[in-house]
Subunit: 586 residues, 2 copies
Amino acid sequence: MRTHYCGLIDEALIGQTVTLCGWADVARNLGGVCFIDLRDHEGIVQIVAEPGEAEGNADVVAIAETIGYEDCLRITGTVRRRHNPNTKIATGQVEVVATAIEVVNKAAPLPFHAHENPGEETRLRYRYLDLRRPEMQRMQRTRIRLVQALRRWLDARGFQDIETPILTKATPEGARDFLVPARMHAGEFYALPQSPQLFKQILMVAGFDRYYQIARCFRDEALRADRQLEFTQLDMEFAWVREPDVQDAVEGMMRTVFKEVIGVDLAAPFPRMTWAEAMRRYGSDKPDLRIALELVDVADLVRDSGFAVFADAANDAEGRVAALRIPGGATLSRKQIDEYAAHAAKFGARGLAYIKIDAAGEVSSPIRKFFDDAAFAALVAHVGAGNGDVVFFGAGGYNRVSDFMGALRLKAGKDFGLVEDAWKPLWVTDFPMFEFDDEAQRYVALHHPFTAPAVDDIDDLRANAKTAVSRGYDMVLNGNEIGGGSIRIHRPEMQSAVFELLGIDAEEAQAKFGFLLDALKYGAPPHGGIAFGIDRIAALMAGTESIRDVIAFPKTTGAQCLMTGAPSPIAEAQLAEVHVAVRPKG
Amino acid sequence: MRTHYCGLIDEALIGQTVTLCGWADVARNLGGVCFIDLRDHEGIVQIVAEPGEAEGNADVVAIAETIGYEDCLRITGTVRRRHNPNTKIATGQVEVVATAIEVVNKAAPLPFHAHENPGEETRLRYRYLDLRRPEMQRMQRTRIRLVQALRRWLDARGFQDIETPILTKATPEGARDFLVPARMHAGEFYALPQSPQLFKQILMVAGFDRYYQIARCFRDEALRADRQLEFTQLDMEFAWVREPDVQDAVEGMMRTVFKEVIGVDLAAPFPRMTWAEAMRRYGSDKPDLRIALELVDVADLVRDSGFAVFADAANDAEGRVAALRIPGGATLSRKQIDEYAAHAAKFGARGLAYIKIDAAGEVSSPIRKFFDDAAFAALVAHVGAGNGDVVFFGAGGYNRVSDFMGALRLKAGKDFGLVEDAWKPLWVTDFPMFEFDDEAQRYVALHHPFTAPAVDDIDDLRANAKTAVSRGYDMVLNGNEIGGGSIRIHRPEMQSAVFELLGIDAEEAQAKFGFLLDALKYGAPPHGGIAFGIDRIAALMAGTESIRDVIAFPKTTGAQCLMTGAPSPIAEAQLAEVHVAVRPKG
């Protein structure tokens, strides 16, 4: 239907006849001459319909006068040099003098114009109009180029792209499983996979050696700004490997794709940090290294202070007293400090002690009174506070203090413009194998129950479960966990022992994961892998906060598709065919 | 963990020390010398553990003596030339003399050996063992290479790989929809997509111009040998196109990938045939052109015969009397002819008339008596029957006769070895727009309700719905419909008119497809596309009848995954969370 793309018309085509197809971005009539900005996926070119002697010319102008926003047009004309070049567009040196205009499909008056950005509800309802905006096109295309670059890298290295099932087995108690009733098996259900974890391990047992998949995964949970019910992972697994084999490979992959897609050079090699160090220095297992601020432990300096909150935590083997110095933070008002306290409270703080030293060296601090001069001076010196600074303190259980002090660090970084404009990747390693769930009074897996412990000896693991370290690793970029993986358990006895430590008895293990335990019995090689969050990485590359901008048809935080109206009620007869009924409320 | 792959050890490495990882394919002890065939994804190499003077050598032999089938091993040794080369394997000129053997993971006694092919149930239950068989590896890798070749072609031509939702809107009365209860919306459901059809059309409206996706699709129906609950399509859509734009492009794509993946040159260009011609000559809308047999219409010759079955059909404007000559078919016994009749009956035949002419020219035929000599001779001459042939006849409604005579043609082709060893692609075009559903007493869409009619005029379509032809096209290869597509309706009035002809009133259309009708209103370009069945194409390329062989984790015809045990019953508490209950039987 066309000879060229609108956005690619250039001076080399001057004098030639072209046929173009696209949308009327803008149409205007200036003293009898009509100008149409014709847009396609490559860009915009100016069309001119002007009165003249040529046959049919009056028709062309007459049609041009009727053109409205977003009409679909097919236009034939001659390329000529513009009198007034438009340097803002790539085709700005030329224009096309129309000899024929066909209105292929007239557009009704639009709910909003493609150059506007109405509220997100409207954007999602009319997603097809929103996606026409150049900014949305750019973000979608960034994602597409990311996936292409990843596949190029993987295909060139012999990774096998293998599809795993979407209709799979439900995990008993799988609180986040989506369930799918089975028409052929009344009363039974499939589940949508939260990840292809077990299938990729099975593929290693099956001898595929190197696997990847751009895999759709599903998690039925209340949506947050950065979560969707369905999301996309680059899922990878390697046989016959140890940690560096996986880490070095995917680190190189990330460097390649960041360079290819957005021209960014990531550090080589990525820094590495244990989980313990990340928690200690940054109060986070996904530290944002663009912010130079660090937590400082002060337990030794407050152990004997009169402030019980500090002294108790300092004297508790599982406690922590940490300080965060914010250079220039003394400008914070009392009200602003209260806001910091409220922010910390969201992450579990019960209060927020501070020391403020104004430009003149004047100290204001609710905890000053608990220290004698020498002890206070030592504390100030230890955290490196000087005139103009504020220092926040947190005291309590180790993980809780780390969490809220880490959250304060991020807030301070943003508030004080301390976030470096840079790309700061790192590896976080040596995660705890287990976390003790106080509510359930049992261990839960910090990664997942298939992650190998650092020790090979089962008795050793049993004896030291509380402090056991796993062979898990996360790739972190600018405060986002963009990839998480581990070396897996490949010996059935170890897998059984870990299930047992997690409170899963042999019968339950067989019911849930019998096929995995079987597979490990019949010659399972050592293996490990990683999964990357494509939506998040694409959002980072596209420079947007919201992953919804890099998903063509996202759902709202209310789990709805506003365009199609999913989910929706279903007629009884259709439900009966799959053997389910809606459960009465209450 | 390794320096080389087993299957790639060659003479260039003689004298070098290598470390290999893999499975013990076979292990045997010949007079104190142990031989292990070590296998990885690249192939097999022979390992030798022999008594000797070197330190640790006795250990190596002792370990080698304990090796069983499928043990996971890590072996270091020196490459040397074999005394007795094995020409059956790529590494057959060399062997590796082990200096260290590590049993990385011992395998339990296997349910079956990797060289065996037990029943399909066992294969599917222990899929990880089945997939280790070189033949299964080859078939899976054929599929992987197919998808890679397709992506290479598409990416190089600016097709945008865009993901569309898996959790989407249920179609009211969508008898084949999988339903997914929504946790956040009690009583509402998502559905899994039968195809991304509407989303890809929306993407064209959104200005993406060229789209593709290797898309998982879902159809909840009783499984046949060649169907799965979930299947994979190469889904494509083009904006601003007419039929040849789509057809020429994807035809070139198929030629490229067949050449790249299995070295086959497909015809250029593919033959094209209307639906009417395909039904007339081959009794099928997906004719297998490897079989030279064709149907011959004989209505004109039997119109006045005394055989009412023939005469009635011949005199009915919607009837058909067709003949199929099978050269050499006179060898068929009475019992075999009965089998042909039974086969035809499965496809709707109520009887099967025939004429058999033996080698001596003797005629046996239950319909001989209905014709005088001249009429009979004319009939025999018209179908070209000679000594040694059999001719089958079908009479009745046009489509029914075409169906069962087409089925006989395929059976005869196979039975008489008349299937050429070749790749025979073609396009089938000009499908009827509608089919009249006798049961529902209304029109149904032959492709789908978004397919454009050949006529642009709505009144014309309404007036001639019965004979209207669509702008649909199928790509057929060796009797398989491997791709189906169409130019779509892009004008909202035409879409509404087609819905109306299909008995979908305005209210229902709005409820089901309101977002599509809206999208067509706001500047929808002409567009069209196609979808290819990846599972089927991979099976054809891999040379297997069953698509299960090219799916890593397929379900049975009973819709079950024998490895994981999906689907499975779900506890009441978990069902309550998603607001459904199992419906009592009856």
